[in-house]
């Protein structure tokens, strides 16, 4: 397949995944910030939302006040935030439009229809600077739905060939990055010494993390006990059955790189590196991770993940 096409598919998937993640972060943060003051800690929820989506620095440059309306605006419709939901969808569609032939009608329509609907939201209150929580909640529902549509259409209709594999690689690299970032932003509330009985201040922080990666229900199914911070870390890093955990992402990444590399004489750089990361995750236990430090572990993972993204680009996408 054309390198440029593979590149477009890879980024199309990344932007759709990112839009979904930003929407979930906004939603989880809204819940946190709506708690009575006595439940929330320092009122830094919106700052963490910016950190988790990698938008903190950009936001500071706008000199806007750190408050709900302006942060939400920045994360949803701001033209100057490269990862705003609106920009993610625009970029996803621009990438999709460049490679229509590599997409099925269903996948193209899922993105095109999303874009057409986005244009309608851009006429609404939120996009014109009038903060409106009802509009916001409709908008966030919309964003979560379109990434499901895209994902489902891709899964159900695309041929299992390079077009599909590169799309999925983009999705899982982005997803691994997102899960790692939210863990990184919140790692301090996950440290064992903050253990407390359910109902503590941290409890709401913990559930917010789980909500952001739509894992609250999954948590209960797997552990059948109260929310414990080390179990959250276990779920999001090492649990294969949790589709957003780092290990589940790498299971897929390694598998799709194997598919792409089939027929080559020996495994390429990207494939080797992905397997390295995977086997590190397979051998790790949550105990070890806390021993070397959750923060250090996550930081190293984020770096490796981004390095793998670059390696894939160099090997396949920028020929």
């Amino acid at each position: 397949m054309l390198s440029r096409t593979a590149d477009n598919l890879f980024w199309l998937a990344r932007y759709m995944e990112r839009a979904d993640f930003v929407a979930r972060i906004v939603e989880a943060t809204l819940r946190l910030s709506a708690l009575p003051n006595s439940y929330s800690d320092t009122g830094t929820e919106w700052e963490s939302a910016l950190e988790a989506t990698g938008a903190a620095e950009g936001f500071r440059d706008t000199k806007a006040a750190m408050e709900e309306a302006s942060v939400v605006e920045y994360l949803t419709f701001a033209a100057d935030n490269p990862s705003s939901i609106c920009n993610c969808i625009e970029w996803a569609r621009a990438n999709a439009r460049a490679v229509r032939t590599a997409l099925t009608v269903e996948v193209w329509e899922s993105i095109n229809v999303a874009w057409i609907e986005l244009k309608r939201f851009e006429q609404g209150n939120l996009a014109s600077g009038r903060y409106d929580r009802e509009d916001l909640s409709r908008f966030l529902e919309f964003v979560k739905r379109i990434s499901l549509d895209y994902d489902g259409a891709a899964h159900r209709t695309m041929l299992r060939n390079e077009a599909y594999w590169f799309s999925r690689l983009g999705l899982y690299i982005e997803r691994a990055d997102n899960t790692a970032r939210i863990l990184d932003v919140k790692y301090h509330v996950l440290l064992p010494q903050t253990e407390a009985v359910g109902g503590s201040l941290d409890y709401f922080q913990w559930t917010a993390i789980l909500r952001a990666v739509s894992a609250l229900t999954a948590y209960h199914w797997i552990y059948r006990e109260g929310i414990k911070p080390w179990l959250i870390a276990d779920l999001l890093i090492l649990r294969m059955e949790m589709p957003r955990s780092l290990i589940a992402c790498y299971d897929n990444i390694a598998r799709f790189l194997d598919e792409i590399g089939k027929g080559e004489k020996e495994p390429g750089k990207a494939q080797q590196f992905a397997h390295q990361i995977m086997s590190r995750l397979e051998q790790a236990t949550i105990k070890d991770i806390f021993k070397i430090g959750l923060h250090e572990f996550i930081t190293a993972f984020v770096e490796d993940n981004s390095l793998l993204g670059q390696t894939i680009s160099e090997q396949y996408l920028l020929n």
Binding site: L2, R4, A94, R97, T101, V105, E109, I116, I260, N319
Partner: protein, 477 residues
Amino acid sequence: MKPGSCFDEMTFPDGASRLLYQKIARWLAEAPPDLLESRRSHAELMFRRIGITFAVYGDKDAAERLIPFDIIPRLISRREWNRLEAGLVQRVKAINLFLADIYGPREILKSGKVPADIILSNPHFRPEMAGARVPHGVFVHIAGIDLVRTGENEFYVLEDNVRTPSGVSYMLENREVMMRLIPNLFAEHQVAPVENYPDVLLASLRSVAPPGAGREPVIALMTPGQYNSAYYEHSFLADKLGIELVEGRDLLVQDDIVYMRTTRGPRRVDVIYRRIDDDFLDPEAFRPDSALGVSGLMRAYLAGNVTLANAVGTGVADDKAVYTYMPEIIAFYLGEKALLDNVPTWRCREADALGYVIEHLPELVVKEVNGSGGYGMLVGPHAAKAQIEEFALKLRANPENFIAQPTLALSTCPAVFESGIAPRHVDLRPFVLSGSDGIRVVPGGLTRVAMQEGSLVVNSSQGGGTKDTWIVEEPAG
């Protein structure tokens, strides 16, 4: 042009409907007005969802505009079609022989049937192609021949498009939409299918692969990119053909061989269906500022290592000055009389003709010989006085640059509007495919509609719309 003063394809002047259109007339009479309107908006929604859009240059707000689609089909009887088809095949056969000749021995120029200067000094003539051999002598693999109708048995060729004609995606998508939108009416008519067009095109392209290509030649469609007005069509066709859609930056030339950049390294390309003008193909050979092309493509082409469809330099055959010689060209190569007539045309390069044209500007349509897309033309009856005077100056300054034609009474077909059903002028662009084993025309084509009342301009860049074209058996009656 007033409706009524021209041939209406559905209705006789007395209001009765023609035999061919009887089922359509009944359907229109019985359908409640809001049904037609709801079908129309449903069709629009379908096009919008699929993303069939068209960009109009110089109009920022309309970066992705929809071409208006009219839901009343345009009918042509099988008998009429057979006549048109024979004429189209004859014409394209002659055009291919003509191109092989002017880039070869130039016998027609030696014979004086066509003046040498309009060929050799033509901006679309490519001296690089002199002596070049193209596989099976096919220069024009895809032609779009514009036909107009003025009466029961009167069809004319308005224009030959043999560079990179567009519109075939609308022919195909209009049909899909109609089959979903009005399945009953469609089934009653036994319409000749057009859906095999991509297969016929693919077969034609495969048949002209260079001799060095393997048994499975690699074919790619080359587009200027997603900002081109016809990008949708490019991606649509690449998809239907199952070939890669490439841009210049996806290709490279090494040792006169063309490769595309793939995830598994460079892959050789044998045939390029290019939807990019000659000028932009290769910065080394043509416009050095072209960022859309591929350096060295022309070298690879002339070395015979890649086939370009259409060939380089075909534009010289669809120039409007050359158009006026088509009857002579057909007679010269085939020894036959042209089956399809040209519109009577004044060549402004001839002094007598120029005099007549300047005298009669308010009645004539004047076109630039190298223009296309409806740009730079004067429609006399619709032009203001100042516009006509300005045009007369251009004409006198550069007469060889123009031709003039009478304002034809183009036929009309009914179209649906919010205010009801009204006749609108139409033309027809059938697509003619040439391969190593002959010339084929899929029955039908793109009917273009001038959506403005009285307008004769059907170009989509000028607000024209489209209709599905049905080739149907003549009803017994």
